[in-house]
């Protein structure tokens, strides 16, 4: 079956360039009237587990091949619910410091509603399904983070309804 949308998944240690990704999204979806981007950044972190000390950086591990395959599948599921012209997912791994970019999702579609819904769906599923693991590293040690309860709730919303 001919693909009906453009999809791009990138996982790596390098930083990504928001302007470049926007241009690519526009290039591959010349008929889109709406582009929604999400960028997730490392906030200033103070860890409860690390006894309130500040976190020097976070470190992301993933399961190569499985993660790419899951991201492509999440994009496919998003498309089935809220069709779009193109979707891009970029996710960094390795050490990432405060203020740096971690993840970017770009969805281009004809109308804004689908671009908003699909990008939210992709983020909710990335958080709860994709095989990434994050730990906070401070001078007193490190601490692997589990999926947050509110992210579980966010992903659950999509099970019964067409939109959150």
């Amino acid at each position: 079956m001919t693909p009906t949308y453009h999809s791009y998944v990138w996982i790596g240690e390098a930083d990504f360039d928001v302007a470049h990704e926007y241009r690519k999204a526009c290039d591959v979806s010349p008929h889109a009237g709406a582009v929604v981007f999400f960028v997730g950044l490392v906030r200033d972190l103070y860890s409860e587990q690390l006894k309130g000390e500040s976190v020097d950086y976070i470190e992301l591990q993933h399961y190569p091949q499985m993660t790419e395959s899951l991201c492509a599948n999440i994009i496919q599921q998003a498309f089935e619910r809220h069709p779009f012209d193109s979707a891009r997912v970029l996710h960094r791994v390795g050490k990432i410091h405060s203020g740096e970019q971690i993840v970017m999702v770009v969805v281009a579609s004809q109308h804004r509603e689908n671009a908003f819904q699909a990008s939210q769906f992709i983020m909710d599923y990335l958080k709860t399904r994709a095989t990434f693991w994050k730990r906070e590293v401070g001078s007193r040690g490190s601490n692997w983070l589990g999926v947050k309860d509110k992210d579980k709730v966010a992903a659950e919303r999509w099970k019964n309804n067409d939109q959150p």
Partner: protein, 83 residues
């Protein structure tokens, strides 16, 4: 051979990121875990015994009841935290 991969806290507990296990006598995830616990640190036993980890077989999520055949790659996946 069965290729086994560990991630995040389970990798720390196993003190290794991967190992190969002889497929002899291994029929499902639970018999694989029993073998891993025999070979690897006590800490791994503690981390796996509550079955909260997710399991993958050849890059697909699988249940703890899933069957295992020679040649597959099995991942032990703590709760994810990407994005």
């Amino acid at each position: 051979m069965i290729r086994v991969l560990f991630f995040a806290g389970l990798r720390d507990a196993a003190q290794t990121d991967k190992m190969d296990v002889d497929a002899m006598g291994i029929t499902d995830v639970r018999s694989l875990v029993a073998e891993l616990i025999r070979q690897l640190p006590q800490e791994l036993s503690d981390a796996l015994s509550d079955e909260t980890a997710m399991v993958s077989i050849d890059h697909q999520y699988a249940g703890w009841d899933a069957g295992i055949v020679d040649g597959v790659e099995v991942g032990f996946l703590p709760p994810v935290s990407g994005g």
